[in-house]
Assembly symmetry: C2
Homo-oligomer: 286 residues x 2
């Protein structure tokens, strides 16, 4: 064994897994790698999986529902011991596939009903963030604009609810045309702002950093004066976005706590299909 080790020989894992009927592989589905939130999730997941002697395999699904299912099936055929579905568009479908194969699943970031979920406290995070923006926008008692995300998406709905609550806290009401759930993509946000009926409010609640990219493109098409009057805050954190002049705050999701909780749920008996919420950390930039 020592000589084998020295000469760089290693066990054939395929044979080992075949015989042991246990792969020690833990799979993760993730939508994208193009922002700090998912990047941090991927890194933290790998680190924690390795610390437990598991082999982490991450697959990026490009927010494509078909690819999500195909990737889940592919991971199952590698006999993964368990699977974390991050930000899945149809988490219950994935849970169903996995439970049919006797594989434990956890939903991360977006909740499902057929497996335990670990998500941010989007309501409280959004309420705090909206409140911060309301405090710091240039036209104090005007309602904000909500931009980005999908109506069908649990997180977006919760954040809209928090957004509305922050307005109600100060006796303000929000008309529904101020809620632009046009998708997360930068292009869609930019287009939605361009097409907005009437002048865009001076305070913006941006639903993700990807959406913020589109918001910034729109903002830099405005006149210097119009731009100077606008303040915004963003759900999710990015170190450079945090330095942009008109950004008043970011709601950072607590990736470490979320993954610790996810791994704890994997260890525990999968008796309850709970949905656990992790508080966000509000970074005030003013």
């Amino acid at each position: 064994m020592r000589v084998a080790e020295e000469q760089g020989y290693s066990v054939n894992i395929q044979a080992s897994v075949l015989r042991r009927e246990k792969s020690n592989i833990i799979g993760m589905l993730i939508p994208k790698y193009d922002n700090r939130y998912f990047g941090a999730i991927a890194e933290q997941f790998e680190t924690m999986a390795r610390a437990r002697g598991l082999f982490p395999v991450i697959t990026c699904t490009q927010r494509d529902p078909d690819l999500e299912i195909a990737a889940a099936k592919e991971l199952l055929s590698y006999q993964v011991d368990c699977l974390i579905a991050t930000g899945a568009t149809d988490p219950d479908r994935i849970s169903a596939l996995c439970s049919a194969a006797g594989v434990q699943t956890i939903n991360l970031d977006l909740p499902g009903t057929k497996a335990p979920s670990v998500i941010s406290d989007n309501f409280a995070g959004a309420r705090d963030l909206a409140s911060l923006i309301l405090d710091h926008q240039r036209t104090p008692s005007a309602p904000l604009l909500f931009i980005g995300g999908r109506e069908s998406d649990h997180n977006t709905r919760e954040r809209v609810r928090g957004f509305v609550a922050a307005h109600e806290d100060r006796g303000m009401s929000v008309s529904s045309n101020l809620i632009l759930t046009c998708g997360y993509a930068a292009d869609k946000a930019e287009a939605a702002l361009m097409a907005f009926d009437g002048p865009v409010p001076r305070g913006l609640f941006v639903n993700s950093t990807i959406t913020l990219e589109g918001v910034m493109r729109w903002l830099y098409r405005q006149s210097r004066e119009a731009r100077a009057a606008i303040r915004y805050g963003c759900f999710d954190w990015d170190p450079f976005a945090a330095l942009l002049p008109a950004n008043v705050g970011m709601a950072r999701q607590d990736v470490v706590s979320m993954l610790e909780l996810a791994f704890r749920l994997l260890d525990a008996e999968p008796d309850t299909v709970s949905s656990q919420q992790v508080p966000c950390v509000l970074t005030c930039l003013v």
Copy 2:
């Protein structure tokens, strides 16, 4: 077969690979997921691998040389068909392990001598970027400060060479104390700037976006006037960093072309141990 498909059955890949002695797995080692460059590489790699019917497995090595080797061995024990080593600190050691196992390797981002390499044209990219910063800094004929990266790192050496060449192009010389190759990490860059002997030059060449995070932290500790006088440019691209007021330009590495070239080299016979350079795209922000 149709019924099996409908019922969600799938082949046991471990058994299949064991018998076929061909895994259809393509591995990638990547240092981090915390910036757009590596994020884009990871996504593009997955997309292109899938398009070729290969199963992509990416492992994040946290810039840790030991983890790099351990991860390479682990991927080999999964019988990967080939391996792309991205930004590896010791690519030749990985190539040696792989060639002992009869597995093809490509070095991406940082070159090695025992396997074909695909890297950016760091010299030309850095020369162009340095030239742009020299054009736009507030004290025209003063030399710039180079910050970030490692002396031992090929890319850093090439970029320093380009940096010096841009100065020489206009008859300027750069003293060696203006080249702070203190590592890529944000903390190290911040500390190096804090400890800089004498006033920091008003034009900065920042070697990566991760380094830029530290530079920004340092910058925001300066007085408003000192800060307003500084201009910088950065190797690598980030959408929010590109919007920061004093940023005059970014040298964006052409990830798509790099990966296309890498996959082409994998298809080709591994006869030559060439090092192919891909031009960067300079984004001018002024």
